[in-house]
Subunit: 219 residues, 2 copies
DNA sequence: TGGTGTGAAACACTTCACAGCA
DNA sequence: TGCTGTGAAGTGTTTCACACCA
């Protein structure tokens, strides 16, 4: 999915949920007010970055004081569309899919998994959290009936593209893809990707460099 | 962890594992040679980007031909330090941790989970893949004995910081954090973060905008 | 006083466009 | 001919630094 000119930069959009997450912890702790400095330290981001990011959306702070936690959190939630609950489907019920289906953190943050699907008939009927596993063949019906726009894909890499095709054909516009493959979609569909191995590999890069460094310093 | 000046940009380092992944699929398919154009189409990246990225590390292609798949893959693996197998520990054996422990995709890509830990005594002794769950109290010993430099954290948010502190105190320099919280570490430690909910929220942002857009266009 | 909001400057990253080569 | 490797140009992102305000 591409960004139209004059739109908010995607980097900013990706940071907003982190701000929201941190603000909700602050709210739970009973903190009323927070400065960009304090929030930045929690999140590992500069104060200027936070102020600049927020300035795309309005003026939420008070000079000399900072930001009211509840007020800013409410605004960010609304900006992200989280004043509504988003129904999503999950496809793929291997160990990872089961963990996702059982995780409470989706529902508490505005994401409601309303259906879980697998093509393995031995899994159909399995109860996972509030959901019962349904066959993939029921996907189109459910997607359309509930007007689903978001989906989580946790199938093996070889199946990911076909599953994504079905999702997109039935109106899904945002996909969280756990399969270690880049899926092809029309450019009005958003895809975010989770590949823990790739993330680890990006760290092994630096750790190997460090070795060499030390070796060099020893001479 | 910060980047020293003149170093390879971190964005580039993060793309290398994606290139490696795609190249290994090509190799499995028996493809011998690939152009930056073809590889880019698979990955959703421009050809120029790939050529530029690779040029940080050397010259791996042949004019008029493209890249030899095996040769380039070998080089990228070496650049990422993947000519060695990296032993890692996993802390946290809830449903997610269990899925991680059982996932075969780590070992096949150079990441070997050599220990899994939890502080819940009812889980100690549980067999997960090739590992048996050990108590957190054994962490320091194992980290030091095996010279572990990478860890995966899959504990609840409230426990993440204390776990990370123990890891760092015992020599861990790279952490893959599944807990929905930004952990504090010394700046010689790398942290990568996985928060599926935050990724979904960054998509609900765009999907909400689209609604408004349509509403606007209807007038 | 202590903090925000924001243009402008600095920096980082991507894309272009083409020389050069098999 | 068809593709790489790469300076230079273009674009995007972050940081600076300060006017402004409760």
């Amino acid at each position: 999915m591409d960004i139209s000119p004059n739109a908010i930069p995607d980097v900013v959009v990706r940071r907003l949920p982190i701000y929201a997450r941190s603000l909700s912890y602050l709210a739970e702790e009973g903190v009323r007010s927070v400065s960009s400095q304090e929030l930045g330290e929690r999140i590992g981001v500069t104060a200027a970055q936070i102020r600049k990011d927020l300035s795309y959306f309005g003026e939420f702070g008070k000079q000399g004081i900072g930001y009211n936690v509840e007020y800013l959190l409410g605004h960010i939630r609304r900006i992200l569309g989280l004043h509504e609950v988003w129904p999503v489907v999950l496809v793929g019920v291997g160990p990872l899919g089961q963990a996702i289906a059982r995780y409470e953190g989706f529902r508490t943050r505005g994401i409601d998994i309303i259906g879980v699907f697998d093509n393995d008939s031995s899994k159909i009927g399995l109860q996972l959290g509030r959901n019962t596993v349904q066959p993939d063949s029921d996907l189109p019906k459910i997607l359309q009936e509930h007007n689903i726009r978001l989906a989580i894909v946790a199938v093996p890499a070889v199946r990911a593209q076909e599953v994504v095709d079905v999702l997109v054909q039935n109106g899904v516009q945002g996909i969280l893809n756990y399969a270690p493959i880049v899926v092809q979609t029309p450019d009005n569909v958003w895809v975010r990707h989770i590949d823990p191995v790739a993330l680890l590999h990006s760290m092994t890069y630096y750790l190997s460099r460090e070795d060499e460094h030390h070796a060099m310093n020893e001479h």
